[in-house]
Symmetry: C2
Subunit: 502 residues, 2 copies
Amino acid sequence: MTVLEQLAERFARIAKLDHAMTYLGWDQMVMMPPAGSVGRSEAIAELASLRHEVLTAPEVGDWLALAESSVSTPLDRARVQEMQREHREATALPADLVRARITVGSACEQGWRQQRPDNDWAGFVENFKPVVSIAREVADAYRAAEPDSYATRYDALMAQHCNGDKPETVNAVFAELAERLPPLLARVMEHQKGNPISMIAGPFAREQQVDLGRHLALRLGFDFDSGRLDTSLHPFSTGSRGDLRITTRYVDEDLFDSLQATAHEIGHASYEGGLPERWANEPVGASRSMSVHESQSLFFEKHLFLSRAFQVGFATAIHDSFPPLEGYDSQQLWRSQLGVGPSRIRVEADEVTYPLHVLLRYEIERDLMNAAIEASDVPEAWDASMQRLLGIDTRGDFTNGCLQDIHWTDGAFGYFPSYTLGAVNAAQLAASIDRDLPDWRANLGRGDCDVIPELRDWLGRHIWSRASTVDADTLMREATGASADPAHLLQHLERRYIDESV
Amino acid sequence: MTVLEQLAERFARIAKLDHAMTYLGWDQMVMMPPAGSVGRSEAIAELASLRHEVLTAPEVGDWLALAESSVSTPLDRARVQEMQREHREATALPADLVRARITVGSACEQGWRQQRPDNDWAGFVENFKPVVSIAREVADAYRAAEPDSYATRYDALMAQHCNGDKPETVNAVFAELAERLPPLLARVMEHQKGNPISMIAGPFAREQQVDLGRHLALRLGFDFDSGRLDTSLHPFSTGSRGDLRITTRYVDEDLFDSLQATAHEIGHASYEGGLPERWANEPVGASRSMSVHESQSLFFEKHLFLSRAFQVGFATAIHDSFPPLEGYDSQQLWRSQLGVGPSRIRVEADEVTYPLHVLLRYEIERDLMNAAIEASDVPEAWDASMQRLLGIDTRGDFTNGCLQDIHWTDGAFGYFPSYTLGAVNAAQLAASIDRDLPDWRANLGRGDCDVIPELRDWLGRHIWSRASTVDADTLMREATGASADPAHLLQHLERRYIDESV
């Protein structure tokens, strides 16, 4: 057995533990009765601990060092490199730092569950200060493990999530969005003032919503022999090839909420399902990064489902499920989903304002990690950015302000940028698809059934099948000819929300 | 940390792996899409292999030897003894024998799936011969690991399932049933000839069946905050305290099939749910054995649900769900479930003939293991027993004869007796409950809501809470005053099927 085969065997064991945690986690969110909670959490924690032991056993480091000097092909180099990344992430942090992070994070999250509804910033900040301080230590440890890789602490934390996007690219994307998106938003608002958009009123019966969602899933290429669609509090996607699990939720008064969520999660699931079977048990066979993952979900949600072309064909399905909506033609059904306006809550934001919510968080957590501000400065920074980016005065409203997200409670700084990098990548991929398959929108609009398989094939070839064989920047350059560039997103938003053409 | 604490920690890790395998297994049977099959099997196999490594690591044997000489209380002795039992079972078989057993078992089971419908005994026996031969080797290895414990190979195999029942007790139970049950069956048949029983015709709408089953579950004390009731091809029960999962199936033409199955599985689940929380992570805290488990499911199914007293109160629920059945009073609804008659298929057999199906298998597998007969002799032995015990000529019908069960295909000899030992124990426990709570039937018949909690409390105190702190024989002796004795089952069958009084 070569050393690479030994490593492959070890990582296959890790993959089986991941399989167990994945589906136990799904069950916990979707099926488990309430009283199962403690037992399930303990079991998953033990599996995670076993996984850590299996990954960080002394021989693994030796094997990796040996493998690094013995592999010759680019693919084998990528295999070893991705194994090294996992191993480094598991060993970069001293055990007491890992424990401290979990302890302060759990306490902060626990308190937050009551402090958020109580609008209690003063209570929260006491728990939040150690979270910030430990996160800085974590960033320092990552920088120490790769001394030449990160200019700042925040860059090191971003790299954990937006794996393979160069921090300078991410920083440049946000700098450009900060400059160009607010004026575009103002123009969209002006346009919609002259051309008002109103949502279509419900209620929409649950059973018909479920049927319509299932119909949408099939149309988008989701295979129920290799997956499930269920209901949960927050939509999510998990699982892998052969057993993809997506969830949605149903809102009585908003027909499109569950449909958009379903399309979004199908994007995530399609990526996982399209990863190469050959490397299913190795890190090189995993999805590339959060920002690439989010590009797939946003492509399915915003560029496919919400495209004018798709909605033409889908109107018939909506009319079949909800005959009272026959008074709305496809153009009206589509437009009813395009309302834009500043709001306080990120998860409820529209396609135009969403990146501004992320930009705000990006700036604050960057400054927090790089010690330009401290935990106690967050509310002031939050309000200043909300005023500047969205024109909303949020002073004193912590519940719908800086306490609204769970992410910071356990110190997951550096995760937010992947949402908007995903939107940037999705628009850039859509632009390349427009170039490579110039008739897709026209064909989809006339009901050509081959379009969606063709789109899936394009994404499969350029993104899904490549897994983690190259970094995210290379992946985007090879698929689209350029690194992540927000120009495509800005152009897409202009076309959809001012021209109303796509 | 004492050596017992070290062992407890190790077994807690094993318990978490068992938790994972339990719920992944449930998911596989109830939720998983077909294409997930290979990935799931591989993951469960890897967890099983990890479990084996964790249990058989060299230090565990040392700790057990040390612990054995250092514990002082009866409870700690039981803790160590049950850990030793698990360890011995995991180490008794050489690795190549374990592998060989899996290989020949898988091949035999795989072939059987087609050979059974094809009535192809000749094809089957070629795969079955090595299964028999490996099972004999397995039995020899168990006997070698505990040299003074088992008089025969078959006794050693039975001990793996009917853990703590002395083989001589089991053998005596079957000897008595072989003598006394066939004449009782003849008397029941004679009685029913004069007093015919007919089933109530359907169809019964699925949705109402589901509602009624849920109602039954609640009435029997099943808590949906700590459990689920789903649908699967074959009813089963799994999970543990806080998260009990039972399944049933719905038959259009037989209202009582799903209800009896639900009651049966609630018996299993109640036992698991009633095991002491304190010992949840140790072998001493596990259910005692298959025969005790089956006694609980059969108590709930046959002695509670199918009691005349229970059916009086339940008739109202049946009428509410199925108004067309209002023409049948509770006595008629009850009697419609009591038809008895010889049949070829064990899983469809009634309460009187079921033990004869098991007796037949017990005799054949005992003789097979003890080399009184060989694999190729099975059809002849089968037919001779069917003629003798049930008066049915099964010559040439392998599909509904000796190929009907999956159990033998992977060499699970020694499992069948636990079904009938469970029936014997259930009737014996019911007799003790009649003694301790003499008014329970009368009270239940008049709708007293306290009766089921009282019955659950009795079983909880005498069976569930004792877990594996004593062996099965002691458990029965302390609960009922005697070792397993088929007299109670025979008396119960006489009262129900001839007197029609219980």
